[in-house]
């Protein structure tokens, strides 16, 4: 991912800053600027997520795209955050359905020796 594209979502990637629709009370992470249920009747504001969540399902990835190939095998999971939103993220080590997790700050990928380092949030079991 290019530098501007990565930078645009730093708050989201580093601190799990998402959004919330005050009309229906749904919390969105990854953030949405338009509530799919309320659409133009929605009232969207920013919301910082705690990062605490539970593993919904997971897999161990052996074949990855280029930027992640050197990290395989790694655990990828869908984590349900306590505010209700679900996110796709790596879990450090192994993960089983139902595991409680919390966020940790890790290198997500880089673009070889020369590109920017792309940091973000992974999860670890508590």
């Amino acid at each position: 991912m290019t530098a501007p594209r990565f930078w645009r979502k730093i708050n989201q990637r580093y601190r799990l800053v998402g959004t919330e629709c005050r009309t229906c009370g749904t919390a969105y992470f990854p953030p949405r600027d338009l509530c799919p249920d309320c659409r133009r009747d929605g009232d969207i504001v920013g919301k910082e997520f705690s990062g605490k969540g539970e593993v919904v399902t997971a897999t161990v990835v052996h074949d990855a795209i280029t930027d992640y190939d050197s990290e395989t095998p790694y655990t990828l999971a869908v984590v349900e955050l306590e505010e209700g939103a679900r996110v796709t993220a790596q879990v450090v080590g192994e993960a089983e359905v139902g595991d409680s997790v919390e966020p940790c700050f890790r290198r997500i990928s880089d673009e070889g020796e020369e590109g920017i380092v792309q940091y973000g949030t992974k999860f670890k079991r508590v």
Partner: protein
């Protein structure tokens, strides 16, 4: 009086034993362990680096702090393994704790004392009334060339300190430094691993500067070792800090709490700061802590801390995290440290 308002340390959960490295290079494991007084060292996960360690330490420090990240007016990160040669680690930390944009930031390098130099910088801004709170971090994922003596101890870890003049739990009574141009250990731009002067790193470097700063501080304050409950020194191995403590007049009871290197190795810019974290996790209000870092190149920053009421609310349980560790072998270690890279 200004000082430490809250603190936090982070050490990655992997360990490799000294004898595992010795066996790889056909060295005498007992001799290596005995010579260094280091049994094991910490190893970062493949997706950890100085920035991620700094962020974890910073977040721990803010967890127990009376303020949020956006109260920080300055962030300094000292390391000799910043992820970028140009582009600061301090801004990554700032963005991760919500301190941006109204803050100043910079990265520091002074071998293993870059973090404590950051404490002095933050302290200056706070005491001058320019900022309310500042953060100083010392962190490293230190490198040692395969088969070199440094490989046995070069480890990963870091600690962060929130400095302010309100809600202080460890007052900085005074700080003094002893600095000279001494090339005892260095790494040229573009080189992957550092060079060191072997025995030259001892007397003319570590001992001269640590003793120099420590004696100068105690002279200024009119204190002596008996006035202190704890003493923390830079700990590149398990031997140097013990020797300098004794030569200054401190005893084992005073230095043992803050001596982590036998278990986690030398975390470079994180070393003496992590020792201080371990001490603050134990010290009580009314205790006094003597502290002297050392960085090759060379210099030592000495501090005298006075622990205050409220310290109990800031404790972090650093040593408890050492109970949940995973030992790895040399092959896994090499992969983690990026010594084997897939093309």
């Amino acid at each position: 009086m200004a000082g430490i308002v809250s603190y936090g340390g982070y050490v990655p959960r992997y360990r490799i034993r000294t004898r595992e490295i010795a066996d790889m290079w056909d060295e005498d494991a007992d001799a290596m362990e005995g010579g260094l007084r280091v049994k094991s060292k910490s190893v970062p996960d493949e997706d950890e680096d100085t920035a991620t360690i700094s962020v974890e330490a910073a977040r721990t420090a803010l967890e127990n702090a009376p303020v949020e990240g956006d109260a920080l007016g300055a962030i300094y990160v000292g390391s000799e393994s910043h992820p970028y040669a140009v582009k600061p680690t301090a801004t990554i930390v700032g963005a991760s704790v919500g301190a941006t944009p109204l803050m100043t930031a910079a990265d520091l390098e002074f071998a293993c004392k870059a973090g404590t130099a950051g404490v002095q910088a933050a302290l200056g801004l706070v005491e001058a009334g320019r900022i309310d709170y500042g953060m100083a971090i010392g962190a490293d994922v230190s490198q040692g060339a395969p088969g070199d003596a440094l490989e046995y101890s070069a480890a990963a870890g870091g600690a962060a300190f929130v400095i302010g003049d309100e809600g202080v739990v460890a007052e900085i009574e005074d700080t003094t430094s002893y600095t000279s141009d001494t090339p005892d250990f260095w790494r040229r731009e573009g080189e992957r691993y550092p060079q060191h002067g072997e025995r030259f790193t001892g007397k003319p470097a570590y001992f001269k500067h640590t003793e120099g700063a420590s004696r100068a501080l105690m002279d200024r304050l009119g204190t002596s070792p008996e006035d202190y409950d704890y003493a923390v020194f830079h700990q590149p191995n398990g031997k140097f800090p013990v020797r300098v403590a004794k030569s200054l007049g401190f005893d084992e009871e005073q230095y043992e709490t803050g001596l982590l290197s036998p278990e986690i190795g030398n975390t470079y810019s994180g070393a003496s700061p992590l020792g201080l974290v371990a001490v603050l996790d134990e010290a009580d209000a009314g205790d006094r802590v003597f502290f002297a870092s050392f960085g090759s190149g060379a210099g030592s920053d000495a501090f005298s801390f006075s622990v205050k009421e409220g310290i109990e609310e800031r404790r972090t349980g650093l040593k408890e995290t050492f109970e949940v560790v995973e030992y790895i072998d040399y092959a896994q270690y090499a992969k983690h440290k990026g010594k084997i890279k897939e093309e």
